[in-house]
C-alpha cells in the first residue's frame, strides 16, 4: 500500500505541477508552437509503442484492428464505431486462430 501511495504522489506531481505553473501565463510563440506539435508526436509514439511491445498471438489482431479502426475513422468519422469494429475484428481473428 505504501508503494501505491508513493507512486501516486510521484505521478500526481508530474501531472499537476507544470499545468498549475503555466496556466494563464504569457508564452513565447515558439514555445507554444513546440507544445502544439506534442499531441501529434506523443500519440504517434504511444501507438507505435503499443504495437512494438505487443507479443505473439496479439500482434496480428492489434495491427489489423488498428488499420480497420483508421479506415472506419476516415470513412465514417465515428470514434465509438471505430473502437467497436476494431475490437470485434480483433476478437474474430483470435477466434479463427
Amino acid at each position: 500500500m505504501k508503494t501505491i501511495l508513493l507512486c501516486a504522489i510521484c505521478t500526481s506531481l508530474l501531472k499537476i505541477v507544470p499545468m498549475s505553473f503555466l496556466t494563464n501565463r504569457h508564452m513565447n510563440p515558439k514555445f507554444i508552437r513546440f507544445f502544439n506539435v506534442i499531441p501529434y508526436t506523443s500519440l504517434s509514439i504511444l501507438i507505435i509503442r503499443s504495437i512494438l511491445t505487443t507479443e505473439g498471438k496479439m500482434l496480428l489482431p492489434t495491427i489489423v484492428s488498428a488499420i480497420i479502426a483508421a479506415f472506419v475513422m476516415i470513412k465514417k468519422g465515428n470514434i465509438v464505431l471505430s473502437i467497436c469494429s476494431g475490437v470485434a475484428i480483433s476478437y474474430l481473428i483470435l477466434m479463427m486462430g
Binding site: C7, M19, L43, I45, T62
Partner: protein
C-alpha cells in the same frame, strides 16, 4: 436546458474514452487479482495513481519483489510523458478557473490530453472537469469490476479488448491529421524516431518515450504550416 445539452455533449466526447477504458480497467483488476493484490490495493492504485500503463508496471514489479523506491522511480519514468502533456495542456487553460487546475491536472491522462489537444475550444472549467471525472470514475469502477467478476469473460474476448486503447489513440489521431501533409509528416517522423530508439534500447523504459516526443516535436515544429 443549456446545462442538459452541455452534459449530453460531455457524454458524447467522453464515450469513446470510456469505451476504451472499460476493457483495460477490467484487465487491470484481473491482473491485480492474479498477482494476489487485495481489492483495496487494486482500488487504491486506480483511485490514487490513475495512470493505466504504470499501474500494470507497478503490479508486475511489486509481484517480482522490487523495492518501494525502485518501483516509484520506474513508475515516475514511465509517466514522465505526462509532465510534457501537462505542460502542453497548461498553456491552453486560460478559460479554466484556477482553483480547478490541480484537480484537472490530477485527472490528466494520455486519452484526455489527446482529446483536449484536438478540441481546445472545449477547455472550459465545467466541460473539462465533467469529462475527466466521468472517465476517472469509469476507470476506477471497472478496475473493481475486473477484480470481482472479470474472470467470467472468455479469455479471447479479454485479449481482444486489450487492443481498445491503441484503437482509441488511432481514432483520435486520424481525424486531426486527415488531409494535412505537414501533420502526417510529423507523425511519421515521431514513429520512425521512436522505433529507432526502441530497438537501440539504450534508454530506460519511459525515457525513450520522453526523448522521442521532445526530439520529434523539436524537429517537427518547423514543419507545421500555419492554418
Amino acid at each position: 436546458m443549456q446545462k442538459k445539452r452541455e452534459y449530453q455533449e460531455v457524454i458524447k466526447y467522453a464515450a469513446p474514452i470510456m469505451i476504451g477504458y472499460i476493457p483495460i480497467a477490467v484487465t487491470f483488476g484481473l491482473v491485480g487479482k492474479h498477482a494476489s493484490l487485495s481489492l483495496l490495493e487494486v482500488f487504491s492504485a486506480s483511485f490514487f495513481i490513475y495512470a493505466g500503463a504504470s499501474q500494470f508496471m507497478l503490479v508486475e514489479l511489486v509481484t517480482n519483489g522490487v523495492g518501494m523506491i525502485s518501483v516509484a522511480i520506474a513508475v515516475t519514468l514511465l509517466n514522465a510523458r505526462l509532465f510534457i502533456m501537462s505542460t502542453s495542456m497548461g498553456i491552453h487553460l486560460n478559460k479554466i478557473d484556477k482553483n480547478y487546475v490541480p484537480f484537472i491536472g490530477f485527472l490528466l491522462t494520455d486519452e484526455s490530453f489527446s482529446l483536449f489537444s484536438f478540441h481546445k475550444e472545449k477547455l472550459t472549467t465545467r466541460f473539462t472537469v465533467a469529462l475527466e471525472v466521468i472517465c476517472y470514475l469509469t476507470w476506477v469502477l471497472f478496475s473493481v469490476v475486473g477484480f470481482t467478476i472479470g474472470e467470467v469473460l472468455p479469455e479471447k474476448l479479454q485479449d481482444a479488448m486489450s487492443t481498445a486503447l491503441v484503437i482509441l489513440f488511432i481514432s483520435i489521431l486520424v481525424p486531426s491529421v486527415k488531409g494535412k501533409i505537414d501533420r502526417i509528416s510529423i507523425c511519421v517522423l515521431a514513429i520512425v524516431l521512436y522505433t529507432f530508439l526502441f530497438y537501440l534500447d539504450i534508454l530506460p523504459v519511459g525515457w525513450d518515450i520522453v526523448v522521442g516526443i521532445l526530439v520529434s516535436s523539436f524537429i517537427g515544429m518547423n514543419w507545421v504550416k500555419e492554418s
